[in-house]
Structure formats: structure tokens, C-alpha cells
């Protein structure tokens, strides 16, 4: 096969250029020469020129002037020119270019060419860049080729048909008969193409899926043949006979067996056979096993088979090959919600993977471990997670820390353990925790009154060791300020007491105040703590007074303001000092009305940092939603409210009634609303059509977490089956759908279907959800989409 000399010379010239500039010069000269050649009429070197242009294009330089040349070459009678022309078409043209339409006719002619290699060029190009119009034009041709006797052409036509179906869904009907007959082919290439085509057709239309269910026995037969047959040199890859075909058949079986008992039964034996017989020492065998596992878990398989599948995944976890461990963990992640117990059995191995060298494996292991935490294994899991946190790569720290906090919050066996865990995380990864950790921890400590003494001792010791982790220092300062008297008393049941004098405590706080590592927020905490101690200690009040007055001339405005106010507290309002600096009451979380009420009672602007923070973080979700609605109303566009909403609806109608003239009224309206507590879980009807009703209710679980419950009911006269819901949310919001309670809705509202959706909205974006409803009623499939823009109670 003699290579193209002009092309290779050019490549050599380009490669020998020593700088980018030189290379650009060479390429410009070559492109000029090529353009000149294109303008000339037919000469012998046309294919060389186009090939040169394609090389230049691959280096990243513009090559659009070659598009018309491609069109001309494709129309040429010479095979060499056609070959390069079609290659150019695939590289330079795509469906968005106008020139691509010009080659439709050439492709049509070449599809009926006498030589199969010319036909194959046309088929390949059509499958690569065929636009919807081209596909519509040429679909009948492709169907004809599917029925030809030449396997080489048939297999290419099959994949071309796949492309056509992807581009123009309606044309699927055209290919169904031919696809069916192709399944009886012996040639593996044709068989593979047929399976891919059938898969595509079934994906696009549920009726076709029903029709192709009858092919399950044939597919099972073909698979059996592949698995049991002896060595076939043509298709063997490391002991597995044609793994590509096996995997595609397994995937098709998955689609056919989903939600269908009969089909799933028919393939149970086969799947068991494949799972046990496939050699798992090489990657290729594991690829087939992996596909088998995915299929088993997705169809209605019997429990023994499911256990077998999860065990295969467990074996994967122990494999030396990192890729296989990674695959195993991604699969286990998908089934951890539905087959929780089965996955729990492999918890030990998963936790071991936390120590793996590879970052991708570590990330998967972390996600899976967090999903596996439960009330029974919380202590051991937390130990492992904390060890992981101390040695994990920096990009995983934030995720690990927040995961640990969530787990601790849900399953803490005792308060002391909870506090210990949080303190441990703050010492190890204090820099990576979220901002609301500090108020959350403070609230937790306040609520655990029996452990105040223990907590303050522990925090004091932590403060002495290290003041670099800001969240820890903030919490420590706050506690010392609040419970300093307990610290000074010196006795504590839970932990060994240390003799602490007032000077020691004030020294510690002063170090925090003066350290360059402390942020302004931390300094604020420390100053307020020092002030609070003035009522809790007896001897060194003067020292406190002097500290406070020094900061009266601090450059930081926030600190200065506090210091000046505390000074005033010492001088003019000394009689109120004790009352003002009293112990804090227990903070209630998630009841907006009460926190705001407490704030308005404070006579001085005593900015308790913990409470302010909590209030700040709790407040935005509510007013933000209200403000948006308000602005819409002020702007004139009245947003139609969802029918049937309870509190949210009444709140909004109150809004419309109130005068909305000046912008200043906005704040009053907001102030007026705060005291109203939210009803627990208002529901809203989001979809009502053909007797099927879908209602939505949501509950705020945490700062960014939200649980949405979707309830569906059926008031028609006939039963509904195959009811599925799919949900989509904006990017940056994480979504997890729990398994629905059922997928059948009996007539006349006999029973309801509920499905839980767990959302996590860390960036607090405006939450919208698009829900796709799909069900079968009286034999016909109904699909509908509804968008939810406002959530009740948010």
C-alpha cells in the first residue's frame, strides 16, 4: 500500500518546524497552495490535497474552504477520491453546515453502487453526520439494504438505521420488520447490529417494546450458544466468546425484562448461567459479568439471583484491579437504597477501600460508606470515617465533614458522643466545614444542659492546644463565655478536672483576641465571651474592663462597636449588666417566629453571634421566596397560584390584599409575616388530568435538605399500571428518588401511590422541579410533563 508522498512530505515539513511561528508559516503556505489547487479543474493530485487539508484541520487550523472540495470529491467516480472525500465530509461537515445537504444526492447514488465498498462509504457517512432531512430522504434505501443478501452491507445498514431512528424517531416503525428478521442471522456483525437496532427501537416506543418481548426466547438461545460454545478463533477475546455481542444482548434483555414478570422468568436461568460460567480473571469477563449484574438488578429477578448479583459485586470489591473496584462501588451506590441489607454485608470491604491510593476509588468509597451508615453500626463506622478524615485528600474533606455531621445528627447514640464527634471533626478539618456548623453546634451544646461542664472543659483544653481552626475557636470562646463559672469551679463528673484560675481563662481569650490567625468573626466571639465573664468571675473584672476599653479604638468597626457598647454597659448601665449577660435560654431551631421574637426583646443591640448566625441562615430561604413573589406582584405579573395550597396560598392572598404601592411597604410586609409559623406540610396539586391526580408536599429537613413527597391517585374507572415518575431539578441541586410504594393505581382512588424525593440544595438556588409522569391506562401509554416552580412551605 503505497503512501501518499505529497502528504507525507508536508507532514514532515510541519513537524520539523521548530517554533509555533514557523509551523504557522509552513501551514499558511501549504493552505495557499491547496486553495490554488482546488480552484483548478481535475488533476491527479486532488485526493492528496484534501488529505493535506484534513491533516492541517486536525492540528486545529481553519479548513472550511475544503468543504466544497469534499462535495466534489464525493461525486467523483474514482474510489480513492471518494474515500478521502467522504472522510473529509465526516470531519469538516456536520448537519449544521449548508454544504452537507449537497452530498445527499451523492450518498443516494452511492448507496446503490455496484461495489460494496462504495456503498459502505456512503452508509458510514450517513451514520456519522446525517441530518434529519437526509435521514428521512434515505430511510427507504436503508431499509432495502437491510434486506440484501450481503452481510457486510447488512451490518452497516443496521447501524445506519440506528442513527436514523435516533435522529427521526417516527421512522422507527419502518425498520421493525427487518430488524425482527435479522435476529436469525448467523453473522455476528449483523447480529450485533440487529440487537443494537432493536434496543434503539424498544427504547423509543413502548408498543414496539411489547412486540419485541416475543424475541426473548430467541435472544436467550443466542446467548446460550455464545456462552456454552467452544473456542471460536474469530470472536474469542481471552476466553470469552464475542463479549461485545454478549453485552449488547444482556442490555436488550434488561430492557425487555424490566417490569415484566414473564420475560424476567424466561431469562432467569440464562443469567444465572452467565453469572457462574464466565471467567472473571480478565477484564473482558468482568465486563460481561458487570452487565449481567446490572441486568439482574433491573429486571424482576428472583431473590436468589439478586443475592448472586450482589455477591458478584462483593467479589469485584476484593479484586486487585482498581477499575473493577470502582465499577463495583458505583453499582453498589445505585442499589444501596433498594437492597440495603445486601450491601451492608460488604460494608467491611467498602470501608477498607477508603484507604485505597486512588482518588476516584476513595471518593466512591466515601459516598458509599456515608450511605451505609445506620443506627446499628454508627459507632464503628464513625471511627473509620474519622480516621479517613484525618488522612483524606483536600478535595474530599468538605464532603466527608458534612457527611459525618449528617450521619451524627441522624444516628447519634448519645449526646456526649455527638458532641465529641463534632469536636473531633472540628479539630481535624475545621477549615473545611460549612458555616452553619458553628451555630448548629452551639445549639446542640445549649440543649445538652447536663454536659455543659464536660463540654466547656473539653473545649478549654482544645483551645489551649490549638487556635488555628476557626470554627472550633469560635465555639470554644462562646462556651467559655457562657459556662465560664462551671470551668472555674473545677469539678466535673465526666472528665478529669483541671484547676483553672480566672487569669488563665482571660489569658486564653486574650491570646485568641490578639492572634493574627483569628478572623474578625472569631475576635468578635472572643470579645463577647470576655464581656460575659465579667458577671461570672469575681476578681478580675478590672482586667476585663481594660481589655474592653482597649478595643474601643480598634480599627475593625464591628469590634469597635461591640467594645464601645460593652464600655457603656460597664459605665452607664452597670445595674443592668447582670441581667443582660445572663445565661442564654435554649435556642429553638426552625421556628422562625420565635427566634425573631427573642431578638426583638433584647433592649441593647447585644449581638449574640451564635443566634444572629442561626437567624441569618434560617431567614434567607423564607424571605427570598417571599420577596420574589412580592416583586412579581409589584411588577404587575400576577402569578397564578397552585390550586388547593393551604398556608402558602393564604399567605399570598394576604399579600395581594395588602397595599403594594411603595417599596418601603415591602419590609413591613415581611415583618408582618414572620410571626406566622408555617404549617407542617402543606400539599399542592401539581397535575390533574384524565382522572390522575398528583400532589406534592415538602418538608424542610435541614438548611439545604428537603424531602418532597409525591402522592398519586386515580379517580377513573379503570386501573392504571406501570405508573412511573421521573424528576429533574436544576444543576447544583442534588436529587435522590426513593423507590415508589407501588406502580399500580387501582380505579376509583382505591389506593394511593407515594414516592419520596430527597433534595439537597446547598447553593440555595431557586428550586424548580420538572416531573414526568408515565403510566398505562386501558392499554395505552400516557406520558406527560409538569413543571413545579413554587414549592409549598418554601
Amino acid at each position: 500500500m503505497s503512501p501518499s508522498v505529497p502528504l507525507q512530505e508536508m507532514i514532515r515539513a510541519i513537524r520539523s518546524a521548530r517554533t509555533q511561528c514557523e509551523e504557522r508559516g509552513v501551514i499558511q503556505r501549504e493552505c495557499a497552495a491547496i486553495r490554488a489547487q482546488f480552484r483548478q479543474t481535475d488533476n491527479g493530485g486532488r485526493s492528496h490535497n484534501l488529505a493535506k487539508l484534513l491533516y492541517v484541520h486536525m492540528l486545529g487550523y481553519p479548513a472550511h474552504f475544503g468543504q466544497m472540495e469534499c462535495v466534489r470529491m464525493i461525486a467523483s467516480p474514482r474510489y480513492s477520491e471518494k474515500r478521502v472525500g467522504y472522510l473529509g465530509a465526516m470531519m469538516l461537515l456536520d448537519e449544521k453546515q449548508d454544504a452537507s445537504l449537497l452530498i445527499t444526492n451523492s450518498i443516494k447514488n452511492d448507496l446503490s453502487h455496484s461495489n460494496q465498498y462504495v456503498q459502505s462509504l456512503a452508509l458510514c457517512t450517513l451514520a456519522c453526520m446525517g441530518s434529519a432531512e437526509m435521514c428521512r430522504d434515505l430511510a427507504p434505501e436503508i431499509d432495502r439494504l437491510l434486506r440484501s443478501s450481503n452481510s457486510y452491507i447488512k451490518k452497516k445498514a443496521a447501524l445506519c438505521a440506528v442513527h436514523i431512528v435516533r435522529k427521526v424517531h417516527d421512522l422507527g416503525e419502518l425498520f421493525v420488520p427487518s430488524a425482527r428478521s435479522l435476529l436469525s442471522e448467523k453473522n455476528h456483525g449483523v447480529l450485533h447490529g440487529a440487537v443494537v437496532l432493536i434496543t434503539e427501537l424498544c427504547e423509543r416506543s413502548p408498543e414496539t417494546l411489547e412486540r419485541f418481548r416475543k424475541t426473548v426466547p430467541d435472544l436467550v438461545q443466542i446467548m446460550k450458544g455464545l456462552v456454552i460454545s467452544g473456542y471460536s478463533p474469530d470472536h474469542d477475546v481471552a476466553g470469552v466468546s464475542d463479549p461485545f455481542l454478549q453485552v449488547r444482548i444482556l442490555r436488550l434483555l434488561r430492557i425487555l425484562g424490566r417490569n415484566n414478570e414473564a420475560a424476567s422468568d424466561a431469562m432467569n436461568d440464562l443469567l444465572a448461567q452467565v453469572a457462574t460460567n464466565t471467567d472473571s480473571t480478565k477484564t473482558v469477563g468482568n465486563a460481561v459479568l458487570y452487565e449481567t449484574v446490572l441486568t439482574v438488578l433491573d429486571i424482576k429477578s428472583e431473590s436468589g439471583l439478586r443475592v448472586l448479583a450482589v455477591n458478584i459485586l462483593g467479589r469485584f470489591l476484593l479484586n486487585n484491579d482498581r477499575n473493577i473496584r470502582y465499577i463495583a462501588m458505583t453499582s453498589l451506590q445505585k442499589i444501596v437504597l433498594t437492597d440495603h441489607n445486601a450491601v451492608q454485608r460488604h460494608r467491611g470491604t467498602i470501608v477498607d477501600c477508603l484507604k485505597d491510593q486512588d482518588a476516584s476509588v476513595k471518593r466512591r468509597a466515601l459516598e458509599l460508606s456515608l450511605a451505609l451508615v445506620s443506627a446499628s453500626n454508627i459507632r464503628s463506622m464513625m471511627k473509620e470515617l474519622l480516621i479517613f478524615l484525618s488522612s483524606c485528600p483536600p478535595e474530599l474533606r468538605a464532603q466527608a465533614a458534612s457527611g459525618i455531621f449528617n450521619a451524627a445528627e441522624r444516628y447519634a447514640p448519645s449526646k456526649r458522643w455527638h458532641i465529641d464527634t463534632i469536636l473531633h471533626v472540628l479539630t481535624t478539618a475545621g477549615g473545611d466545614v460549612r458555616d452553619e456548623t458553628v451555630p448548629n453546634l452551639i445549639q446542640l451544646i445549649t440543649n445538652t444542659s447536663e454536659l455543659h461542664c464536660y463540654t466547656v472543659h473539653k473545649l478549654y483544653r482544645a483551645l489551649l492546644t490549638d487556635i488555628s481552626q476557626q470554627p472550633l475557636v469560635q465555639v470554644a470562646c462562646w462556651c467559655i463565655g457562657e459556662y465560664g463559672d462551671l470551668l472555674l469551679k473545677g469539678e466535673c463528673q465526666e472528665t478529669e478536672a483541671v484547676q483553672v484560675t480566672e487569669d488563665d481563662v482571660l489569658d486564653a481569650l486574650e491570646i485568641v483576641l490578639q492572634s493574627h490567625m483569628s478572623t474578625p468573626t472569631t475576635r468578635g466571639f472572643a470579645l463577647t465571651a470576655t464581656m460575659k465573664l465579667s458577671t461570672r468571675i469575681t476578681d478580675n473584672v478590672d482586667r476585663i474592663r481594660s481589655i474592653v476599653s482597649i478595643y474601643g479604638s480598634c480599627i475593625d468597626v464591628e469590634l469597635q462597636q461591640r467594645a464601645v457598647e460593652y464600655n457603656a454597659l460597664f459605665k452607664k448601665y452597670d445595674h443592668m449588666r447582670a441581667a443582660v449577660l445572663e445565661r442564654m435560654p435554649v435556642i429553638q431551631k426552625n421556628s422562625l417566629g420565635q427566634t425573631n421574637g427573642e431578638l426583638s426583646e433584647e433592649p441593647m443591640k447585644e449581638s449574640q453571634p451564635g443566634k444572629v448566625k442561626q437567624e441569618e441562615t434560617a431567614l434567607p430561604p423564607q424571605p427570598a421566596g417571599q420577596v420574589v413573589d412580592l416583586l412579581d406582584l409589584l411588577g404587575g405579573s400576577q402569578e397564578p397560584l397552585q390550586p388547593g395550597s393551604s398556608v402558602a396560598g393564604s399567605a399570598s392572598t394576604q399579600l395581594t390584599a395588602a397595599p403594594t404601592s411603595a417599596g418601603g411597604d415591602l419590609l413591613d410586609l415581611l415583618g408582618g409575616f414572620e410571626p406566622t409559623p408555617l404549617a407542617p406540610a402543606p400539599t399542592v396539586t401539581v397535575y390533574e388530568k384524565n382522572g390522575v391526580t398528583l400532589t406534592l408536599s415538602c418538608e424542610q429537613q435541614s438548611e439545604s435538605g428537603l424531602t418532597v413527597t409525591l402522592t398519586a391517585s386515580n379517580s377513573t374507572d379503570s386501573d392504571i399500571s406501570g405508573f412511573t415518575l421521573q424528576a429533574a431539578v436544576p444543576k447544583s441541586v442534588q436529587l435522590q428518588m426513593r423507590a415508589p410504594s407501588t406502580d399500580c393505581l387501582p380505579a376509583h382512588g382505591g389506593a394511593k401511590l407515594t414516592q419520596l424525593v430527597v433534595l439537597n440544595n446547598p447553593n440555595k438556588v431557586n428550586l424548580k422541579m420538572r416531573i414526568r409522569v408515565s403510566y398505562t391506562c386501558q392499554g395505552s401509554v400516557v406520558q406527560d410533563m409538569v413543571q413545579v416552580d413554587s414549592f409549598p412551605g418554601l
Binding site: H48, A51, M58, S120, G189, H192, G193, A287, Q357, E395
Partner: protein, 192 residues
């Protein structure tokens, strides 16, 4: 751009981009039952210096998007340590890559594709190149890039595997080349 500048900031930029691209979430997550079978999105070959040797796109992509994807892939794959996992996540795609001598083979898969099988696809392509060129090396692919594309077109089409037998692919390539030569001789023009 001066090469010294690049080398100064290269590592920091790599770390940052790698972190960002690996942590990217889905744009739109549909519920777990969305299981439509899709294809390979693209196949790229690039050298250790980041020079592109082959690009095959199985979905329509604009020039700008292509350049961006190529840049991102090179940034993601090149800094990877030798014995790490061959699978990555990037936006909503799975990326499978394998290094053969001085070339990186990088494929972008849809969510539902089988990564282990994709590794096999890459390996099969390398075997086909090897059989055709005889102990293939990067230079073969540079100087005969159009042949590499022709072989790829006999093996994959529309993102799916076209022919599962090694021998069949090689036979078709030989016959097509023979056709080209004989037609040239017949038309008595210099051989391609």
C-alpha cells in the same frame, strides 16, 4: 505563548481544573429509571505532549465545543498517575482512557454505557491498528492518519461496535485498499 510561562503555572492550573471537573454534578438528573441506551460520544487520541492525533465525534458538535472538549480531556488525562483508575467523570459523561506507549486513547461514554467494555473497545482498536501497520507506533498514525480513520470506520459506526471479529475488519481493509490500487492502475494514474 512562551513555554516558560506554561511550565510555571501548569501544575497549579491542572490541580484546580482537575478538582473542578471531577466534582461537577449532573446538569439535570432524571430519576433512576432513565435507562436509554446511548452511544460513544467521542474518541480522541493524543500524545503525551498533548498533540491531537485522531478525533472522531459521534454526535454533532460545533468546532468551538470540540476544541473545548479536547482541551478538557487533555487536562484531565495527562496528569493522571500511572496506576490509577482508568475511569473518570466529566460533566455528565464517563471518560475511559488508556495509555498505549506514547499515545492516550480517550473515549467519552454516556451514563448507561459499560466502562469495562469500553476498555475492551479501545484495546481492540489498538490491536486492529497493530495488525494493519505491523507493530504500530505513533509515527505510523501521524503519517497515515487517514488509514487510521478508515480502520476506525470499519470497526465503529455511529458510536457502536460494527464488527466484532478482528479478522473480518482486517479483510475488509485489505480489500478496500486493493480496490483503490486496482482502480488507480486501471485509470492509469499514479497510485495514491
Amino acid at each position: 505563548m512562551a513555554k516558560s510561562l506554561q511550565s510555571c503555572f501548569f501544575n497549579q492550573v491542572i490541580d484546580r481544573v482537575q478538582q473542578q471537573v471531577e466534582e461537577s454534578q449532573f446538569y439535570f438528573t432524571l430519576a433512576p429509571r432513565e435507562n436509554s441506551v446511548k452511544e460513544l460520544r467521542f474518541l480522541l487520541l493524543f500524545s503525551r505532549q498533548g498533540k491531537l492525533r485522531l478525533q472522531k465525534w459521534f454526535v454533532p458538535t460545533s468546532d468551538r465545543e470540540r476544541k473545548k472538549v479536547i482541551r478538557d480531556m487533555i487536562m484531565l488525562v495527562l496528569p493522571r498517575q500511572p496506576r490509577t483508575c482508568n475511569f473518570l467523570r466529566w460533566k455528565d459523561l464517563k471518560i475511559v482512557y488508556k495509555r498505549y506507549a506514547s499515545l492516550y486513547f480517550c473515549a467519552g461514554l454516556e451514563e448507561q454505557d459499560n466502562e469495562l467494555l469500553a476498555l475492551e473497545v479501545l484495546h481492540r482498536y489498538v490491536e486492529l491498528l497493530d495488525k494493519y501497520f505491523g507493530n504500530v507506533c505513533e509515527l505510523d498514525i501521524i503519517f497515515n492518519f487517514e488509514k487510521a480513520y478508515f480502520i476506525l470506520d470499519e470497526f465503529l459506526m455511529g458510536g457502536e461496535v460494527l464488527e466484532t471479529s478482528k479478522f473480518a475488519v482486517n479483510v475488509s481493509m485489505e480489500q478496500a485498499d486493493t480496490l483503490q490500487e486496482t482502480m488507480e492502475e486501471y485509470m492509469s494514474k499514479p497510485a495514491y
